[in-house]
């Protein structure tokens, strides 16, 4: 009932409703988020409603208790009283039956008790009277016993019987009465039962009626009360509404008033603000101008200060420079002064020292530079040497490979050519023997026997040579075998080669060989002499060597050699000695021999020294033309060789060791320079090759070729004639055969029967020409 509170509540409520209705998102919208939002709002609204409901209930109750004398209360009281009365009356009405039944029961009980009492009394009386009677009767029995007279007794018995009957009758009567009573009671009971059931029915009816009544009245009263409440509520609502409206109006007017006041105030404030703003603006501009002026003044001052600062700076800088220069000058002067003082005191020592130092440093620098250069160069050199060696290796490899290949190709071509030549010779032979009827001799050319490339013979090992040498010399037979002479020639040539140079020697050797072969007709006579001599001398030298240098042979070997032949013994000994001395090849052997010879010449004939000096002089002259000089040198050497055999004995056995030592020392040097020499050996001369191949090509002379040509033509003609003849022969044969066949056919025809049947038998016809022909 407190208007402001409820008003506030209402306002709040309405406000909420409004806001809710405006803001509430629809539940039926398509956006699910919005729907969720809507449901949430709904739940919140429900909760709020419930809360408010509770609050409202409380308010209502309060209102009711406060409004004692309201219409509803009156109505309530009224109906309550009415209902209470109704209930009371109803229960009374219902219980009335019970009460009635109760009082009937009590009355019945009272009556019953009375009747019972009467009945009991009656029974007691009856008992008393019947007892009296019984006593009377029983007393009479005593009397009867005394009776003697039968009539009397009979009479008495009769009277007794009558009495007894009377007694029994009384009793029976009583019993009947009681039974009657019981019957009536039974009837009563049935009646009572009926009544009771009636009563119960009535009770039920009343109860039902009562229930109906009560319900009806309750409903009515409820209705009344509700109506009363409704009316009251309506009234309350209207009054509240009125109050609310009034309050709202008052509120509105007040608000309007406030609004107006506010507007006015706002205007006032605006005006004040404007005024203030203008005043502030003016003030601001004034202050601004003043401050700007101040700023300008200060800036001017600043510029001035800056100018003075710059001026001062430059001045100071200038001063600083001047001072610096002066300082420098002073230091220079100081140093000059010092030098002067030094010069005077140290007698130029210092100046010289300075120069020396300078030079030293330069020197060191240069040394360093050169060292570096040197190092680099040496490294370059080493590198190059390495490269060179590698290249040489490769070259050697290639040379070998080339050589091999060359040899193979050579052999192959040679074989082919020889095949061809052989065929040619065969053909030639056939032609000569068969066709020409001439005896044929096989031409014998040197090149036909040659196998392999035109090259030097393989070097023989020292021991082999030795063996050969010893065998030759040992046997003492000079055989003009090619091996022997070539050996001798070789030995000589090698000695020469040692003097001149390997290459030329070998080249010479080949040429010489070829030349020797070309002039194969007289090889022995030409080469015999030098060879024999040299063989002898060498043998002698070797024998000497063998005897003198026994120390080089192992003692074991010596013991083994004892049973052997002299020559074999020598051979083995020499072999051992050579192996000890390091002599391996032919060259070394000849070198040794030569050395011996030289040694002897050097020591024992001063003239030989001159010769030795002569021979080197001859060498350069020999180089340009080989063949011409060769002869000379050989000739020149021959006397020398001839001399040698005469003087081998001049070599003292004691000197052999010295010679050997010198030789061994000397042998080491040439060995060092040997590899390059060996390489050069591989270069072969191919000038003769063309000649060789040419010779091979022209092995059949042009004369024979011409002969062949003529023969060919003649043979062709002959062949033609022969073929013609053969043809004619075949023709002839065919004709002969034809002839015989025809003859056979004719015979057949003539022999047949049909001929006889014909008028003119063909035989006749035939016969005629045949005859005619025959004729």
């Amino acid at each position: 009932m407190n208007p402001p509170g409820s008003l506030g509540d209402l306002e709040e409520l309405e406000g909420e409703h409004l806001s809710a209705s405006i803001l509430r998102p629809s539940v039926h919208s398509d956006n699910p988020q919005e729907r969720i939002q809507a449901r949430r709002l709904r739940i919140a609204a429900r909760l709020e409603a419930r809360r408010r409901e509770a609050l409202g209930d409380y308010l209502d109750g309060k209102k009711e208790s406060e409004e004692d004398q309201s219409k509803s209360y009156k109505q309530k009281e009224e109906s309550r009283l009415k209902l209470a009365k109704l209930l009371l009356c109803g229960t009374e009405l219902v219980t009335n039956i019970q009460v009635a039944a109760d009082i009937r029961e009590t009355r019945r009980r009272v009556e019953e008790e009375e009747i019972k009492r009467q009945r009991l009394e009656k029974l007691e009386n009856e008992v008393k009277t019947s007892q009296d009677k019984f006593d009377e009767i029983s007393a009479k029995w005593e009397e009867g016993k005394q009776k003697i007279i039968p009539q009397e007794l009979w009479e008495m018995l009769n009277t007794q019987q009558v009495h007894c009957a009377g007694l029994i009758e009384d009793k029976n009567k009583l019993i009947n009465e009681l039974q009657q009573e019981l019957k009536t009671k039974d009837d009563q009971y049935v009646k009572d039962l009926k009544k009771q059931s009636d009563n119960i029915c009535l009770l039920l009816d009343r109860m039902e009626e009562q229930v109906k009544n009560v319900m009806k009245t309750f409903r009515q009263e409820l209705h009344h009360i509700e109506k009363a409440f409704e009316v009251e509520r309506q009234e309350l609502l209207t009054s509240n509404k009125k109050k609310w409206e009034r309050a709202l109006q008052a509120h509105n007017t007040k608000e309007l008033e406030y609004l107006m006041n506010r507007i006015k105030k706002v205007e006032d404030y605006e005006k004040q603000l404007n005024k203030q703003r203008i005043w502030d603006c003016e003030e601001y501009s004034l202050i601004k101008i003043k401050l700007e002026q101040d700023v300008q003044v200060l800036e001017q001052q600043l510029q001035q200060m800056k100018a003075t600062y710059l001026l001062n700076q430059e001045k100071l800088e200038y001063n600083y420079q001047v001072l610096k220069k002066r300082d420098e000058e002073s230091t220079v002067i100081k140093s000059q002064q010092k030098r002067k003082i030094n010069r005077h005191t140290g007698n130029y020592q210092t100046s010289l020292h300075d120069i020396l130092n300078n030079l030293r440093s330069k020197y060191a620098k240069q040394v360093k530079q050169f060292q570096e250069e040197n190092q680099s160069l040496t490294s370059d050199y080493k590198h190059l040497v390495m490269q060179f060696k590698e290249v040489q290796k490769a070259m050697r490899h290639f040379a070998l490979a080339d050589d091999e290949k060359f040899q193979e190709i050579w052999l192959m071509n040679e074989e082919e050519v020889k095949d061809l030549i052989k065929r040619g010779f065969d053909v030639d032979r056939i032609i000569h023997t068969h066709h020409l009827g001439l005896p044929w001799t096989a031409p014998d050319f040197w090149f036909l026997k040659n196998v392999g490339p035109l090259s030097q013979q393989q070097q023989k090992s020292a021991s082999q040579i030795l063996e050969e040498l010893l065998m030759q010399t040992g046997n003492g037979i000079l055989k003009p075998e090619p091996a022997c002479w070539s050996f001798g020639l070789f030995a000589l040539l090698i000695v020469l080669g040692l003097l001149r140079g390997r290459a030329q020697c070998i080249g010479l050797c080949f040429i010489e060989e070829e030349g020797a072969e070309e002039t194969a007709s007289d090889p022995a006579s030409y080469l015999d002499l030098p060879k024999q001599i040299s063989a002898k001398t060498t043998r002698k030298i070797l024998m000497l060597l063998c005897d003198e240098s026994g120390f080089l042979i192992e003692s074991k070997l010596l013991s083994l050699l004892l049973p052997l032949e002299k020559s074999e013994c020598y051979l083995l000994r020499l072999d051992a000695i050579f192996s000890a001395l390091g002599i391996e090849s032919e060259d070394d052997l000849y070198k040794l021999v030569n050395f011996f010879l030289k040694y002897r010449a050097h020591h024992h004939s001063p003239s030989s020294q001159e010769r030795m000096s002569l021979t080197p002089a001859l060498e350069p002259a020999e180089q340009p033309d080989f063949e011409g000089r060769e002869e000379e040198s050989l000739v020149e050497r021959e006397p020398e060789e001839k001399e040698a055999p005469a003087s081998p004995r001049l070599i003292h056995p004691n000197a052999v060791l010295k010679i050997l030592e010198a030789f061994v020392m000397g042998l080491k040097k040439p060995r060092d320079s040997r590899p390059p020499v060996k390489l050069r050996k591989e270069v072969r001369d191919n000038s003769k090759d063309s000649e060789y191949w040419q010779a091979l090509a022209t092995v059949i002379p042009p004369a024979t070729q011409n002969l062949w040509d003529a023969l060919y033509t003649a043979l062709e003609k002959y062949h033609l004639i022969l073929t013609q003849r053969a043809k004619l022969l075949v023709e002839n044969n065919a004709l002969e055969q034809q002839n015989t066949e025809l003859q056979l056919l004719l015979k057949q025809y003539l022999a047949s029967k049909i001929n006889s049947e014909l008028q003119v038998p063909p035989t006749e016809v035939l016969r005629i020409p045949v005859k005619s022909k025959q004729t």
Partner: protein, 500 residues
């Protein structure tokens, strides 16, 4: 705002109305409530959704939360099928407590009320199921007379039925004892209004065993005894009320006096039973021909009972000796209600009762209707009431009381402040007595009911007394409103129930 306040009308109370109202209306309500109950279990039929106002927006949405008519009943859910299966197999495989509450509810709604009690008794506690069971078995059900619990009602009535139709010697006692473990927690009250005797009744004279003790009756007439309750009652741990009538209903033309015999053996066993039952609060043994000796046996066993509050031995044959025993009981127990209506109590018995009542502090209600205590007894009681400060209800209807008692009672009325209801109907109080009572009433402010019907009191005085009672009631109402219904339960219990 006001409308929203008035609208909430909770539906829950309407259901409770059903049971409170009278039987005639109850049936209607029950019938009408049947479909109401079953309604939630049946899904509403699928209605084709008509073209709504916002059809354009709704066309795209398949499920609309706000659509109250929408239902998924087209395809039965798996849960539905499972529940159906559970219901089908419930007797073999009772699954209930493992289910979710809503599924439990569904299962309970679908269960048949004919399921064996061995399965359901200790498993199902849901009232609606037991309600259905009760409705299914009995057309009329007063649940509030069974403590408001349908389950209790079911078991109580089931047990009562069994007891009613139990024939000693022929029926197997196991029938009842087997039920015991199932119903022991749910049976609070037993109201048995008939006990059948054994079938083969040997015709023996009834008068012989009257004066003898129980042992003799046992040997001679073992066949006439009724069902012995001791085993059953010992098993019922929650039993509070025992209402027995030893008689046969609807015997018709087979009537024999023997049928209505409460033997000594019955009496002894019953006495032992009620003595052993410590939870018993209300004991009623009515219309059973209980005479003085039997009453004494029973009452002796009830002495110093720890819980007994109400003893009803109405409509029996109890005389002064029995009443003397009852008077002794009053001082040896906490009895609140004693009903000896329609017995054979006379003045000496009333005097003994009055003697006990004078110092009693527990008895609230005493009923001596339809006895014959007469003025001597009435006067004694009135004297006792002068000192008693406890008794609120006194029924002395039909007791041959007259003026002297009335004068004494008028004195009591002016002094006593506890009595609220006095019934003196069917007495011979007389005009003077009425006037004296009126005088007494004028000083009384507590008495609410005073029945003086058919007691030969003047109309005028009766009316005046009625006025005084009205005034008293008003004040009592005011007091009740202020003291929050302090007196109302007593007043409601006070008047005799008219239906009895």
């Amino acid at each position: 705002m006001q409308e929203s306040l008035a609208t909430p009308a909770p539906s829950a109370p309407s259901r409770s109305f059903i049971s409170i109202q009278d039987p005639s209306s109850t049936t209607d309500q029950v019938l009408s409530s049947g479909p109401q109950l079953s309604k939630p279990s049946v899904p509403p039929p699928v209605k084709s959704r008509g073209p709504n106002s916002g059809a354009g927006a709704h066309r795209l949405r398949r499920i609309i939360a706000e659509d109250a008519e929408w239902s998924l009943a087209i395809v039965p859910l798996l849960t539905e099928l499972c529940i159906q299966n559970i219901v089908k197999n419930f007797p073999n495989n009772p699954i209930l407590t493992q289910l979710l509450p809503e599924h439990q509810q569904k299962v309970l709604n679908d269960l048949s009320p004919d399921l064996p009690l061995a399965v359901t008794a200790n498993l199902i506690h849901d009232e609606s199921y037991w309600r259905r069971c009760c409705m299914h078995r009995w057309p009329v059900c007063h649940v509030d007379s069974h403590g408001g619990s349908w389950k209790c009602m079911f078991f109580e009535r089931h047990l009562e039925n069994l007891l009613k139709h139990f024939i000693p010697g022929t029926t197997d006692p196991a029938v009842i004892l087997d039920l015991l473990p199932l119903c022991r927690n749910y049976v609070h009250r037993l109201r048995v209004d008939q006990f059948l005797p054994p079938v083969h009744l040997p015709p023996t004279p009834r008068s012989e065993d009257q004066s003898d003790s129980g042992s003799e009756g046992e040997t001679e007439e073992p066949t006439r005894d009724h069902y012995q309750l001791n085993d059953l009652v010992a098993g019922l741990s929650q039993l509070e009320e025992l209402d027995l009538v030893y008689r046969v209903k609807d015997c018709g033309m087979n009537f024999e006096w023997n049928l209505f015999l409460f033997t000594y053996r019955d009496c002894h066993s019953l006495a032992a039973t009620i003595k052993a039952c410590h939870t018993l609060k209300i004991f009623r043994l009515t219309r059973s021909k209980v005479d003085d000796d039997k009453a004494r046996i029973l009452i002796r066993s009830l002495l110093d009972h720890p819980a007994l509050e109400e003893l009803d031995l109405s409509h029996n044959l109890i005389g002064d000796r029995g009443v003397r025993a009852a008077a002794k009981l009053l001082s040896h127990s906490r009895l609140r209600v004693l009903n000896l209506a329609n017995n054979q109590v006379r003045a000496p018995g009333a005097q003994s009762l009055a003697h006990a009542l004078a110092h009693n502090t527990s008895l609230l209600s005493l009923n001596l209707r339809l006895n014959c205590i007469e003025d001597e007894g009435g006067q004694a009681l009135a004297h006792a009431l002068q000192t008693n400060k406890c008794l609120t209800t006194l029924h002395l209807g039909g007791n041959e009381l007259s003026e002297p008692t009335a004068t004494l009672l008028s004195l009591v009325l002016s002094v006593n402040t506890t009595l609220t209801s006095i019934n003196l109907s069917c007495n011979h109080i007389g005009l003077d007595g009425g006037k004296q009572l009126l005088e007494g009433m004028s000083d009384n402010r507590t008495l609410l009911e005073f029945d003086l019907r058919l007691s030969e009191v003047a109309q005028e005085s009766e009316y005046l007394i009625g006025q005084a009672l009205c005034a008293n009631r008003e004040t009592a109402r005011q007091r009740g409103l202020n003291a929050s219904h302090f007196m109302s339960p007593l007043t409601a219990q006070g008047p005799e129930n008219p239906s009895r």
